[in-house]
Structure formats: structure tokens, C-alpha cells
């Protein structure tokens, strides 16, 4: 039986939440941020006035995203890394792209 729109929305939210939590966990560990998962909002700016990350941290993010999520990142892609949510968008789009290519 097909899922109702509401059930589908809950399922989408659950999938997204799992990726977000994994990304937050690896970012906190890798960047040694003095934060817990529920202390980072999904749309918090990563750089500048937000979490205060810098260009060195940006390179760490590339390494950790490539390793944990199996996607490759170019210099141009880096512009999209503005918040946890925009990184998750990137991961989901890249993983879908890679699936199509297989």
C-alpha cells in the first residue's frame, strides 16, 4: 500500500535526521568542537559569526565528508558548505549522482 503524504514526510524526516546526526557527530569529533549534537542547529552558519570555523577547519570538513559519506568534493563545491543543512544537501545530491552513474 502506498504511503500517505504524512507518513512519507515522517519517513523523509527520519532519513534526513539520521544523516544530520551522523554529520554533526563526525564534525564535532574531527574538529574537536566543545559541543554536543543537540547544541548545533541544522542551519547554524559554520564560519564567521556562527560556529566560528576557519579555512583550516574547512579542509578538515572536506576530508571527513569524503571519508564518512563516500563522496568527492572539488574546490567549487566548497562554496556550498555554509551550514550542516547545506552540507547534507550536497551529500544527498552527490550520493544520488553516484548511484545513477553505477
Amino acid at each position: 500500500m502506498a504511503l500517505s503524504k504524512l507518513d512519507l514526510a515522517f519517513q523523509q524526516a527520519k532519513t534526513r535526521k539520521a544523516i544530520i546526526e551522523l554529520l554533526k557527530r563526525v564534525l564535532i569529533n574531527r574538529l574537536k568542537l566543545p559541543l554536543e549534537i543537540d547544541e548545533v542547529a541544522d542551519d547554524s552558519p559554520l564560519f564567521g559569526s556562527g560556529l566560528g570555523l576557519d579555512s583550516v577547519d574547512a579542509l578538515e570538513i572536506v576530508v571527513v565528508v569524503e571519508k564518512e559519506f563516500g563522496v568527492s568534493i572539488t574546490d567549487d563545491d566548497m562554496q556550498a558548505f555554509r551550514s550542516v543543512n547545506t552540507i547534507v544537501d550536497f551529500i544527498i545530491a552527490k550520493q544520488a549522482e553516484q548511484k545513477e552513474e553505477q
Binding site: 504524512l6 515522517f10 535526521k17 542551519d43 564567521g48 559569526s49 543543512n85
Partner: protein, 334 residues
Amino acid sequence: MNATYTATRNTAALFDFSEEGRFYISGDDCVPFINALISTDLDSIQEFTLLNTLFLNKDGTILAIVWVLKDEERIIILTEPDRRQVVTEHLNTHRDNWNIEISDETERTRCLAVIGPQAQEITREVADDDIVGLSYLGFEWNEVVDALLCRIGYVGEYEYRFIVPTEQAQSLENRIVEKGKDYDLEEQGDLSVLSVLKLEMRSLNQQRDVPPNVTAIQAGLHWMIDFRKDEFIGRDAIHEQKKAKGRKLLTLLFDGEDLPPIPSEVFIEEQKLGKLVNVEYSPTVGKSIGLAYIDEDLAYVGISFYILVNDKTLSAQSVSAPLFITNTVKGISQ
């Protein structure tokens, strides 16, 4: 398209922020006094830098979103115009036993801001080449124009703010306008455009985006809180609320250009799941965008919602913020 919007996203616009509150706090205890009130740690920043932070109520709701500037002898607080009175009361309520002086400088100063991808070039012409060394979230006294120059920013573009004694403001404004001619500066920035400029970057306007009963956690302002700080007003509530939010603020991208009324209920099927608190048409995106508080379990990007306006259904999808990469950020990244 509004000329101020076009200029801010493509060249630069001059805004008059003089209606915003400007408080100067001096005295031996100025740093610990303000540190006891804000949700981030003033001791963690160097002199001549600034913080975007919160004055919280004990229950974790927001009294005011503020900018705090720290120099070698005083603290300066910048507030939205509508928060000036509550911040005055808040500072006075808590000032006992501190060796401080509080001065509301709002009437004695003006604040002019140049915002846009060309703002740095214009500010260089106005205030000398040295300003290129002024980092984001830094400020300095600029001797060329005799004004406090701050590099702030919440619309994703370069933003330079001049805080200047009222009697010198007109000549500074004339100078900015004159130097800005070569850069297509929009001379009289329309303040109403800030609403959509901020919404596109998910920078919140407290009056519009944060109803009084909403907590800082629900509004997603975690990054304005130092969770490791031992003491500040609202700390205990914040640590409770981060575990169970109730509703969370999400950015919605509508399918078209219609602007539903504010507030509006947000639905999936026939279930009310949230409330739309702000909506604007975004010229860059070409669609309406909004902010809505959505039930926590569904407050994630990629979910399709709808809003009923009379008998018409307006579809919207939750999206990530910021909504796009600005010309300033593209320039910095290259």
C-alpha cells in the same frame, strides 16, 4: 525589482541605521557586567572584535538579539530599534553592585552602513586603504572620517558600519555618496528591503521572526549561545530546552510568488503542523520564501507542506539556509 535590493546584491547600498539602539557601557566592571547578561562569553574574544549574541529571559525566550563590541575601555551594544527600551530596562535592572556607567548614545550618534559586494571598495575610498585589514567581526576607530568603523554582516554581503557623532554625520554621508558614485551605490537604501535580504540568509529579525513565547533553541540560535559558559540569565532553561524543542524554525520555499497572510497555519494532508511567521518574495530565487515554526518530528529539510489561503492551496518545501551563495561570498571564495 526594488533598486535597493538590486544594489545590495550586485553593487552596494547606503543604509541609515540610526534608529537602532547604541549603548556605551564603561567602568571597571563593564566586561563582567555584560558577560553576566549575554549568552556567549565576552572573555573569549579579543579587544576590537564583536559578538552577535542574546539577552535571554530566565525561561530561555529572547529578550533581545544584540551585537556586542568590546574595546580596551568599554562595551558597546547595538540593538534593533524596537528593542531599545527593553534593553535600557534590562541593563538598569541588573546594574546594582557593578562599577559601571551606562550611556544611551542613540540620539548623540548616527549609524550609516554600506552593504553589498562593492562595499569594501567604497569604504576603502571613504576611509582609506587600511580598512582592507579590518577582519569580519572587527571594528576600529577610523581617523580619516573620525568614526567607529565596524565590519558586521547578516545579509551575506560585505557590510561596513560607521558610527559617528550626529553633528559629523551629514558630511560623512556626503563623502560616502560621492565616493560611491563610481560603484553604482544606491544612495538612499530602503530599509524595508532588509526583511527579504535577511530572510534569504536566515538572519532573524526578532520582532517579525521570533514570537515572544519562542525560545532561542526553537529559533535555531544555538550559535549565539556558549553552552559551556557557567552562568548567564536563561542558562538552565536553555540546557533543558535543547533536549525537547516542541517546534523548530524552518525556511520554506514556495512554488510561486503568492504571499500568504501572516500568521498562517502550515499543513500536510489535513494536519496542522506549524505556523508561518514571515514571508517575502525573493527576487534572486524568483519565488516566495518564508519562515515557519514546525513540529519537531517534521522540522527537516526536504518536506512538502501547504498553506491554505481562502480556498487556494499554496505548496512549499522546507529548504536549507542560506538560500543561495551571494556575490560577496563567491568573490571571497575565489
